[in-house]
Structure formats: structure tokens, C-alpha cells
């Protein structure tokens, strides 16, 4: 009995819990929570088993189901690919999903929410979709579950549908990501049309499209490039797929849905931000990294989008008053870092940050959720304060998460973010254009430190500033347990890849890098080493040779500066709002650079009037012509019938007249005159 025999069950277990919650959830004791917990726990155990098996030097690929088994044309299938990357992601997703389910007992059940079967059904489907997406073996299957993830986010963000804001936010989330998915779908169709396959890995007799692309670039394979040069066409395809990534991972300019998505229940926010929807985009790039690594243009675009988003979102986070909003912008910003890493070929750093971020961001969201429960659903930080003593477990775990987010030694975020910045700098020194991305990412570190600790100080320190904060109630085990688990992980997860330490001591401790490089077992070609070669040889991006220590110190110093500034400004029993000092910039940041307004304007003042015009045109001109034909016939008939007077005299006159006319006509024609 091998671990991989149960691989399909990793995704199917949450699907079963979805079905149970949907059908009989309302009769169950916890309204569907218990099957969900059991299913995600099962998925977690199976995932860990899979990781162990991968560590034992295996990988797994199986075609589960032929969706379309065409012989004469393209065929499509569902299959499973478990390699180091997907195995690691499976564990992260199922772990976070499990903890979110447990936390929901406290956040939803204990608070007496209604509609819980729907909630747990949504969570189950969400987990199922994400897990299936993670181990999808081809691009089409990935796209399908990518879309299902979008559906689940719609259902869960709009969970409280009786109010006005959540359905609107849900709509926005789906629509904005759909806009990205439009490009993604063209990309999927294009990849299949170009390569005839969407496989990520060359296994079991399949050929993967990244390898076909590589061969085509080298002139060894013949693919349909639709009239473009191979490199141009691959860049176009990569950009199209990147559209979906930008939408789901909330990168500029499609990030606007994410802050609105805070209308959903907080555990859902944790799930969306840490492990499922937002992570899906970045994961997709990592999954098909062999394709992106082929084009320096694509890499540069990814790096710049990432760097810009990291900085851009961090500035907005600085002025927000809602604790969940701050976290939302931090998510956008952190995914920006991962994009920077992917853009500079730092596959390990991106995956590393994806993992540590999953832990500390889930922790922060669940911590915020705990605060929200305790303060009777207060989310404004200015109405909190002084919660440190009332909620010690929450405080300490939240602090760990914040330190990780800010990138302070030795918490996990420091190690991963430092590696991102270090790798960006290495590429940037050799290819100056990438230095811009590095600079933006480095500047964002300062803002991150600042807003994180502004949030911590306002929420937990000082004096309580409202009755709710004063009367914060105690929390149950089901809230504390996930916090503690994640707190530990957020603190120690960074130790698996301490690059500066390795450099200092020479000890071989870059476990994550070895893991992703296939030291334990991997599919050939899907390893860090292979990608590195592609980035260096095919894309031609060389790396500078400097040690990780100095860049690490710089990053740490910048982060500490941000934290220190927050400390100076807000470590006060009665903190003041300092945001006014920013002047016009504050308004700009507070209003998200008027991005939402721009998009709403685009929808309301461009698309809608256009559709109204089209409607007027349709009703007026096109239907007007149709009705016009009818009216002309009717009026013509009406006029024509007037000669039917009903008077014999008139008919006789017409007959006589006709006779005369005929006679005259014959006379003229016959030549009588």
C-alpha cells in the first residue's frame, strides 16, 4: 500500500465533506463542521504521507480520468502530479484548511451564525478545488479548478448575503478575477493549440509544454507559433496566463477585489489569503516555471509587476484603520514579493516565501478574527487598544506573526523575504533593469515594518478605547489551538532555508532548496537546478556573486527602521492619528490611489453607457427597421384598400376606365394612330 494510492482522496475528502454539509449539514451537531474537520485532517495526513513518500525519492503521476478522449484531435484529461512542489503545497493547503475549520467552530458556531451548512459546504468545496488545483498535472485541469476556486470565493465572501456590502464584494472578487481569467483561458487555449498538450511534466510518456517550448526555441521541435517568432509567441502565451495569475494573486492592476473581499467571514479571509485563492496565482507560475524561465521579457514583467505591487500595496496599508484592511494590503504586498522572486528566477525563494507567508498570514488573520470575536465584531483599530492583557495567547501569537510579516530576525518571514531580496539583488546587479524591482521591494520592507507594528500597537497596546475593547471576552480552545499551531510554525518555519547562516557557517542546511532541487526525489526538469539553467542559459540572466550577509543586514535594518518609526509614533497609551501629517498623500493612500474609483468609472461610465447605447441602437435602428417593414406593409395596405370603396359605381368606373386605357394602349401599340 503506497502513499500515492490515496492521492485522489486528498482532494476528494473535502469534496465529500462539501456534499455532506450541503445535503444533511443542518441535521448534524455542528452543522457540517465536524465532517469538514475530519476531511481536512484526513487530507493533511495523506498529504504528509505524500511528502514523506516524495522525500523517499519518488514522485507520482497518474491519469485519473479522460475528460475528452479524442483520437483524431486534442484530448483532455484529469491527472495527478505529486512532486516536491505540489506535495509541499498540499500540506500547506490542507493544514491551513484544517486549522480554519477548527477556528470556524469558534468564529461561526459559537457566535450563533445561521446558514452554517452553506458555510461549511463552501469551505469544503474551496479546499477541494484548491487541492485539486495544486496537484493538477496539466494546464486545463489547473484552469478548471482555478475557476472553481473563484466560485468558492464568491460564495464565501458573499456569505452574509443579507447585507448589502458582502454580495457586492463577492461580485467584485469574481468579476475582477474573471477579467484576469479571460486572458488565462486564452492562454490555456493557446498552449493547447500550440503544443497539443498542457502537461506540466514530461512523465509517463507525456511531453510537457515547457519542454516542448524549450525544444522549439532550440529549433529541435516544430510547433505552431501562429505566425510569430517562437520567442515572441511564447512570451505572449506566458503573458496571457499571467493575466489569470495577476487576477487571482491580486497583483496590480487587478488587486482591487482583495480589500473588498474582507467582507467575508474572517476565517475565510485567512483561507483565501494564506493558502487558497491568492496563493493559486503564484503557485501556478511556480508550477509552470519551466515555461516562464524561457523568456527574459516575461521574467522582467513578472519582477516589475511584483515589485511595484509590493510597494504600492504597502503604502496603502499604512493609513488603513480597519485591522482586516491592513492585513489585506499586506497580503497584496507579500504576494508582490513572491512575484519578484519568480521574476528573478528565484524559484526557491518564491516557494519559501509562499510557505512562510501561508503560516504567518493565516496566523494574523485568525488572530485578527480572535480579536474581532473578543471585541464583539469590532474591526476598527482605533476602537481597540489594550487587548494585550485580556487576550494573552492571541497577543503573543499575533506578535509572532507580525514579526514574521515585518521580516524581523529570526522569525520565518525574515528568512524568506531576505532570500527574495538577495536573489533579486544578485540578478539586478548583473541586469540593471531588475534593480528597479529590487529597489521597490526593499522600500516596501520599510512600509511593511511600519504598518505591521502600527497595527499591533493600536490593537493590543495602550488603553482600551471603546467599551467593546474594555469588555473583551475570553476565547475558547478552538480559537487558541489554531493560533498556537500557526504561531509556532510562523516562528520556526524559516529555519529550513537559512541562507545567511549557511553562508556564515558552511553547514548544509538549505533543506527547502535541496527539497525543490530534487535531492530527495523529483520529476526531472521540474527542479530548481533545471530552472536555474534555463534562466541563465535561455533567458540569459546572469547573477552577481556576492554573499547574502550584507543584503540581509540591509533588509533587516530597513524593516527595523519601519518598526521603530511605528513604535515612536504609536507606542502611547492614548495614541494619536498621525496620518494627517501626510497631507494629500494620506488621501491618496486612504482612497487606494483611486483605483477602485477608476475601475468603477470604467464599469459605470464607459461600459454601461456603451451597453445602453447598444440597446438604444438595437431597439431603435435594428428593431426599428424590422418594425418599419411591418409598418410600411400595414400603411401600404391601408392606403391600397381605400380604392375598395364598396360602391358599384366606382368599380364600374374603374372597369370602364381600364377598358379605355387598354383600348388606347392597344391603339398606340397597334399603330392605329
Amino acid at each position: 500500500m503506497a502513499a500515492f494510492d490515496f492521492a485522489p482522496a486528498i482532494a476528494l475528502l473535502p469534496f465529500v465533506s462539501f456534499l455532506i454539509a450541503l445535503t444533511v449539514g443542518k441535521h448534524l451537531p455542528k452543522k457540517g463542521a465536524l465532517p469538514g474537520i475530519a476531511a481536512t485532517a484526513g487530507a493533511l495526513l495523506l498529504s504528509i504521507w505524500a511528502v514523506v513518500a516524495v522525500a523517499g525519492g519518488e514522485y507520482h503521476h497518474a491519469v485519473l480520468y479522460e475528460w475528452v478522449a479524442a483520437e483524431e484531435a486534442l484530448s483532455f484529461h484529469f491527472g495527478i502530479l505529486i512532486d516536491p512542489l505540489s506535495a509541499m503545497m498540499l500540506v500547506i493547503v490542507s493544514l491551513i484548511a484544517f486549522l480554519v475549520h477548527v477556528f470556524s467552530l469558534g468564529y461561526m458556531n459559537d457566535e450563533g451564525e445561521i446558514g452554517l451548512p452553506r458555510y461549511y459546504a463552501g469551505l469544503g468545496l474551496f479546499t477541494f478545488s484548491m487541492l485539486a488545483f495544486v496537484y493538477a498535472d496539466n494546464l486545463l485541469m489547473a484552469f478548471m479548478f482555478f475557476e472553481l476556486v473563484g466560485l468558492c470565493s464568491f460564495l464565501l465572501i458573499g456569505f452574509w448575503f443579507r447585507e448589502r456590502a458582502p454580495p457586492s464584494a463577492a461580485k467584485k472578487a469574481f468579476l475582477v478575477t474573471r477579467f484576469g481569467d479571460y486572458f488565462f483561458l486564452i492562454g490555456v487555449v493557446g498552449v493547447f493549440a500550440t503544443f497539443g498538450t498542457g502537461m506540466f511534466a514530461s512523465v509517463n510518456g507525456f511531453e510537457s509544454f515547457p519542454e516542448l517550448a524549450e525544444a522549439a526555441l532550440a529549433g529541435e521541435a516544430d510547433v505552431n507559433t501562429f505566425g510569430f517568432a517562437a520567442e515572441t509567441w511564447f512570451s505572449i502565451l506566458g503573458l496571457l496566463v499571467l493575466g489569470g495569475v495577476i487576477g487571482k494573486s491580486a497583483q496590480f492592476p487587478l488587486h482591487t477585489w482583495l480589500p473588498d473581499a474582507m467582507e467575508g467571514p474572517t476565517p475565510v479571509s485567512a483561507l483565501i489569503h494564506a493558502a487558497t485563492m491568492v496563493a493559486a496565482g503564484v503557485y501556478l507560475v511556480a508550477r509552470m516555471y519551466g515555461f516562464y524561465a524561457l523568456s527574459p521579457t516575461l521574467l522582467a514583467i513578472i519582477a516589475f509587476v511584483g515589485g511595484f505591487t509590493a510597494l504600492f500595496a504597502a503604502t496603502m496599508g499604512v493609513v488603513k484603520n480597519d485591522v482586516k484592511q491592513v492585513l489585506a494590503y499586506s497580503t497584496i504586498s507579500q504576494y508582490g514579493y513572491m512575484m519578484v522572486a519568480l521574476g528573478v528566477g528565484a524559484y526557491v525563494a518564491a516557494t519559501f516565501h509562499l510557505m512562510t507567508h501561508a503560516f504567518f498570514k493565516a496566523l494574523l488573520f485568525l488572530g485578527a478574527g480572535a480579536v474581532i470575536i473578543a471585541t464583539h465584531h469590532e474591526q476598527n483599530m482605533w476602537k481597540m487598544g489594550g487587548l494585550k492583557d485580556r487576550l494573552p495567547v492571541t497577543y503573543w501569537t499575533f506578535l509572532v506573526g507580525s514579526l514574521a510579516l515585518a521580516g524581523i530576525l529570526p522569525f520565518s518571514g525574515f528568512w524568506s523575504k531576505d532570500e527574495v531580496l538577495y536573489d533579486a539583488l544578485l540578478i539586478g546587479l548583473e541586469n540593471p533593469i531588475f534593480l528597479g524591482a529590487y529597489a521597490m521591494a526593499l522600500l516596501a520592507v520599510f512600509f511593511t515594518g511600519f504598518y505591521t507594528f502600527r497595527m499591533v500597537l493600536l490593537t493590543f497596546h495602550g488603553e482600551p478605547r471603546s467599551d467593546h475593547a474594555e469588555n473583551a471576552h475570553a476565547l475558547g480552545w478552538n480559537v487558541k489551538f489554531p493560533l498556537v499551531v500557526l504561531g509556532v510554525l510562523a516562528a520556526v518555519a524559516g529555519f529550513i532555508n537559512m541562507k545567511p547562516v549557511e553562508d556564515l557557517t558552511g553547514a548544509e542546511i538549505l533543506y527547502l532548496e535541496y527539497w525543490l532541487d530534487g535531492e530527495y526525489g523529483a520529476v526531472e526538469g521540474l527542479t530548481y537546478g533545471a530552472y536555474n539553467t534555463l534562466v541563465a542559459d535561455v533567458s540569459g540572466l546572469g547573477a552577481a556573486d556576492i554573499g547574502p550577509l550584507l543584503p540581509g543586514v540591509i533588509a533587516l535594518a530597513v524593516a527595523v527602521a519601519g518598526v521603530a518609526l511605528a513604535w515612536v509614533l504609536y507606542n502611547d497609551p492614548e495614541p494619536e492619528e498621525h496620518t494627517a501629517r501626510l497631507g494629500a498623500v494620506r488621501d491618496l493612500w486612504y482612497n487606494n490611489y483611486y483605483q477602485d474609483e477608476a475601475q468603477v468609472w470604467l464599469a459605470r461610465n464607459v461600459t454601461l453607457p456603451l451597453s445602453r447605447r447598444a440597446d438604444t441602437f438595437d431597439q431603435g435602428v435594428i428593431d426599428g427597421v424590422v418594425n418599419g417593414v411591418g409598418s410600411v406593409s400595414l400603411t401600404g395596405g391601408d392606403r391600397l384598400r381605400r380604392i375598395q370603396t364598396g360602391l358599384v359605381t366606382n368599380y364600374a368606373a374603374l372597369i370602364a376606365l381600364g377598358l379605355v386605357v387598354l383600348l388606347v394602349a392597344f391603339a398606340v401599340v397597334g399603330g392605329w394612330f
Partner: protein, 502 residues
């Protein structure tokens, strides 16, 4: 003889129901309509056809050709049979008729026996349209569909039913005339002695785009385009849908529109591929226009039924795009889209009907927060809407994906123009999401409000049952498209070979 048996059951059933008292008509019609469902499902399971019925494939359940009447040099023949294209459409017809009859129980409360009688009459004619392989028999059934439809809209419809019914009838009838003239002119130029579609197809093979063939192609194209409908001959559709009662809308969107696309595939694209390819730029432009323009129009509507009606125009644009691609997935996907759209749009109309039964309004601005009052119905509506948007694992995604892949690969346009056209047409999936999400947000969610003062209670089980059945079918086809896609591919492949080197 199975096809004749199905048609006979529907026609005799229609007479029986017409003669029965109003009180029992609904139950009786439902019971009778179950026989064709069972029959067609059995035929599906026993289907042994291969290839395309017009291109010398093995025709399943074939009867004839038996010469019926001799007119001059020509013999009119009774020739029926199914291939992979028509089989799914026959099943679609029978299943949707039964569900439409079930969904009519609540809204139809007068002249029931006539209503259900006409529904069965229409079903019989529709089966005939999809199964007939002789032009004249086909044309008789084709026209026979219009008559019950005219009365169903004109008698049981909304306030402007007469306008809508006459518009529908005149529009489609004039179109049939144009098509008839074009086709007959084409046939008279050929050396054939029957009006059998396979014979005509064989006689046309390799004749190329002669002026007569081109003229006939466009006459037929115009005739079928009205039925589909393709922009700019679409304006009868929203009026007909808005005025028609729910079950009739279901049939109209679910099956009647497919007559147009089915005929396009059978006549224009199978018989005259050279002309179709010659004028592909024009056809592709119409397809893209239908998709984008139809979606834009849907965005401007405030009546739920009008929204769904306009979105049908958009979806039918994909069918045209797939047909003109002349690739397996293009033509096959177009056929799959016919079935899929039949199910999903039928589902949408039914759900809107159930909501209308409760609220007595369809205006988006008149209601909000229905989810609280009718959870199951709204759940189905949300699912159906996502199906319409092309959510994976539902049939809409499968259909659209096949069409996209097929047309993206197509070489019908020079310089990979099909890829570009496909990319543009795909933008429809964003707009469709826009208006459906907007409509859902306004009507289903938020605090409960209703302009018309009716008390909203959850829909009765008999109204919800057809919704759940259809939703089940939509998901089933989304997960296992090969249930019908395999026979469709088998039947459309010869069409591609007929199209020359494509």
C-alpha cells in the same frame, strides 16, 4: 421505426390531450411525454450510428428511403434516421419537453388541454426536424414547429403577446421562404432525382463555390440565421421570450434556436463547405458581433427574462464561431454547445419563471434579497448563472472550451485570423459574468425588498424538481462530456474531410 414511434406518440398524445378535460390535461401530458423520453434514452443507449448521416455514415434507426409522392422528375421520400449530431438533440428535445410540461403546472391556469396538446404537437415536429433526411419531410416538420409556437405565445403570453407572436411567426416564416427558394434553386441545378439530403450532399461534393451555390448558401444562411438568431436578425427573440410563458420560453431557447444552428450545420456547412470557407471572414465577423453585441445588450437590460434572452444570442454566436472553424473541436464544440445551451438556458428560464410565479415581477429593480425567502430556487439560479458564465465542471464550460480550442486552431481565416477572432469573442465570458453577477447581486442578495406586495414562499417541490433535474444534467455533461461528445465528434469528422484539406 423508433423515430416514427416517438413522433407518433407525441402527435397522437397531442390529440388525446387536446380532447381531454382541462383538469387532467397536465398530468396526462406529462405521462405521455415520458414515453418519448424513455424511448429516446433507450435509443441513446442503443445508438449504433457511425459517421455523418449526410456523408455516407451508418445511420442509426434508419427507415426508408421509401418513395412517397412523385412530383415530375423528383421523388419525395420518407427517410428518417439519426447520427451523432441529431441523436443528442433528439434526447434534448424529449427531456426538455417533459420538464417544460412539468414547469407549466403552476403558471398555466387556463385552456390547459390546448396548451399541453400544442406542447406535444411541437415536440413531435421537433423530433421530425432533427430526424428527417429528406428535404421535403424536413421542411414540413420545420414549418410545423412554427404553428404551435405561434399559438403558445399568442394565447398564453404576456400583455404584448400578439405583437410578439406575429413578429415571431412572420419573421421566421419569411426566413423559411428565403431559405426554401435558395435550396430548391440549388437542387434544380443538380442531377438528382430525389430531395434526399444525403443524395444532394453527394451531388454537391466538390462542385466548389459556383455563383449559384454562393447565392443558395446566402439564402439559406439568411433563413437559418433568423432562427438561430444571429445579429442583426435577432430582434424577434427578446420580444418572443418576454411575452412567452415560462415553459414556452424553455422550449424556444432550449430547442427551437437549435433548429437554426442544426440546419446551418447540416445544410450550409456540410453541403457547401467551399462557400463557407470562401466567405469565412464574413461569417466569423457575424459570429464575433453576435457574441459581443448580444452580451452588451444583455448588460443594458433590467428584465431578468430579457437578460437571459439576449445572452442566448451571445451563446449562439459561439456556435457559429465553432461551425466556421472546420476543426473537430470547433464543429463538435458547436454541436455540444447546442445541447449545453439548451439545458442551461432552459434552466435559466425555468428558474426565472419560478421566481416570477412568486414575485409577479421580473424587473431587476423591483426586488432584492430573494435568497432569504426562496433558498433552493436562488441556489439553483446561482448555479445556473455560473453555468452560463462557463464554470468548469458544468456543460457550458466544456462547450465553450471546445469551441475556443477548435476555432483557435482553425486555418479558415488567413494569417491565423481565427485565433484573434476567438480571443475577441472570448471576451464574452467576462461580460456574461458581469451582467449575471450584477443581476444576482440586485435580486437575490441584500436585504429583502419587493415592489409587488406578494408574500414570498419557497417554491413547491413540483416547480423545483425540473430545475434540479436540469442542473444535474448540466453538471453531468460538464464532468463527462464524452457521454455525447464522442458521438458528436464521430459525426462531425466527415464534415471536415468534406471541407477539403482542412
Amino acid at each position: 421505426m423508433m423515430i416514427e414511434a416517438l413522433i407518433a406518440v407525441a402527435l397522437i398524445g397531442s390529440l388525446v390531450v387536446l380532447a381531454s378535460p382541462d383538469r387532467y390535461a397536465a398530468q396526462l401530458a406529462l405521462a405521455i411525454s415520458l414515453i418519448p423520453v424513455a424511448g429516446s434514452l433507450w435509443m441513446y443507449s442503443a445508438f449504433d450510428g457511425a459517421g455523418n448521416a449526410l456523408l455516407g455514415g451508418d445511420i442509426a434507426f434508419e427507415t426508408g428511403p421509401i418513395t412517397w409522392v412523385e412530383v415530375g422528375d423528383y421523388a419525395l421520400q420518407w427517410h428518417m434516421g439519426l447520427d451523432g449530431v441529431s441523436m443528442p438533440l433528439v434526447v434534448l428535445t424529449t427531456v426538455l419537453t417533459t420538464l417544460a410540461i412539468l414547469s407549466a403546472w403552476t403558471p398555466i391556469d387556463e385552456r390547459q388541454s390546448q396548451f399541453y396538446g400544442l406542447m406535444l404537437l411541437m415536440q413531435g415536429s421537433l423530433i421530425g426536424v432533427f430526424a428527417a433526411l429528406d428535404f421535403f419531410v424536413w421542411f414540413v416538420f420545420w414549418e410545423a414547429v412554427l404553428v404551435p409556437m405561434y399559438f403558445l405565445i399568442g394565447v398564453w403570453g404576456g400583455p404584448r403577446r400578439k405583437y410578439a407572436a406575429i413578429k415571431f411567426f412572420v419573421y421566421t416564416n419569411v426566413a423559411s421562404l428565403v431559405m426554401f427558394i435558395g435550396f430548391i434553386a440549388l437542387v434544380f441545378s443538380l442531377d438528382v432525382t430525389t430531395f434526399g439530403l444525403p443524395e444532394i450532399t453527394a451531388a454537391l461534393e466538390g462542385t466548389g463555390p459556383t455563383p449559384l451555390a454562393t447565392a443558395a448558401f446566402f439564402a439559406m444562411f439568411a433563413g437559418f440565421a433568423v432562427k438561430v438568431p444571429i445579429v442583426p436578425v435577432h430582434t424577434w427573440l427578446p420580444d418572443a421570450h418576454v411575452e412567452a410563458p415560462t415553459p414556452v420560453s424553455v422550449m424556444l431557447a432550449g430547442v427551437l434556436l437549435k433548429m437554426g444552428t442544426y440546419a446551418l450545420l447540416r445544410f450550409n456547412f456540410t453541403m457547401l463547405p467551399e462557400v463557407a470557407i470562401e466567405y469565412a471572414p464574413f461569417i466569423v465577423a457575424l459570429a464575433v458581433l453576435s457574441v459581443i453585441y448580444g452580451a452588451l445588450l444583455a448588460l443594458a437590460q433590467r428584465d431578468l427574462k430579457r437578460i437571459v434572452a439576449y445572452s442566448s444570442i451571445s451563446s449562439m454566436g459561439y456556435v457559429l464561431l465553432g461551425l466556421v472553424a472546420y476543426t473537430v473541436h470547433g464543429v463538435g464544440g458547436a454541436t455540444f454547445q447546442m445541447v449545453s445551451h439548451g439545458l442551461i438556458s432552459g434552466l435559466m428560464f425555468m428558474t426565472v419563471g419560478v421566481i416570477y410565479n412568486a414575485t409577479h415581477t421580473r424587473m431587476v429593480t423591483d426586488m432584492s434579497g430573494l435568497a432569504d425567502k426562496m433558498p433552493v430556487t436562488v441556489g439553483v439560479f446561482v448555479a445556473a448563472a455560473f453555468g452560463y458564465m462557463g464554470l468548469p465542471l458544468m456543460s457550458g464550460f466544456a462547450a465553450e472550451y471546445f469551441v475556443f480550442v477548435g476555432s483557435f486552431q482553425s486555418d479558415t481565416l488567413p494569417n491565423h485570423g481565427m485565433a484573434l477572432a476567438t480571443a475577441i469573442a472570448m471576451f464574452g465570458i467576462v461580460v456574461v459574468a458581469g451582467y449575471l453577477l450584477f443581476a444576482m447581486q440586485r435580486t437575490m442578495f441584500g436585504p429583502f425588498e419587493l415592489e409587488t406586495d406578494y408574500e414570498i414562499v419557497p417554491a413547491p417541490v413540483r416547480d423545483v424538481t425540473p430545475l434540479l433535474v436540469l442542473l444535474g444534467l448540466v453538471i453531468l455533461l460538464g464532468i463527462a462530456p464524452d457521454l455525447i461528445y464522442e458521438m458528436i465528434r464521430d459525426a462531425v469528422s466527415p464534415v471536415l474531410e468534406n471541407g477539403g484539406d482542412l
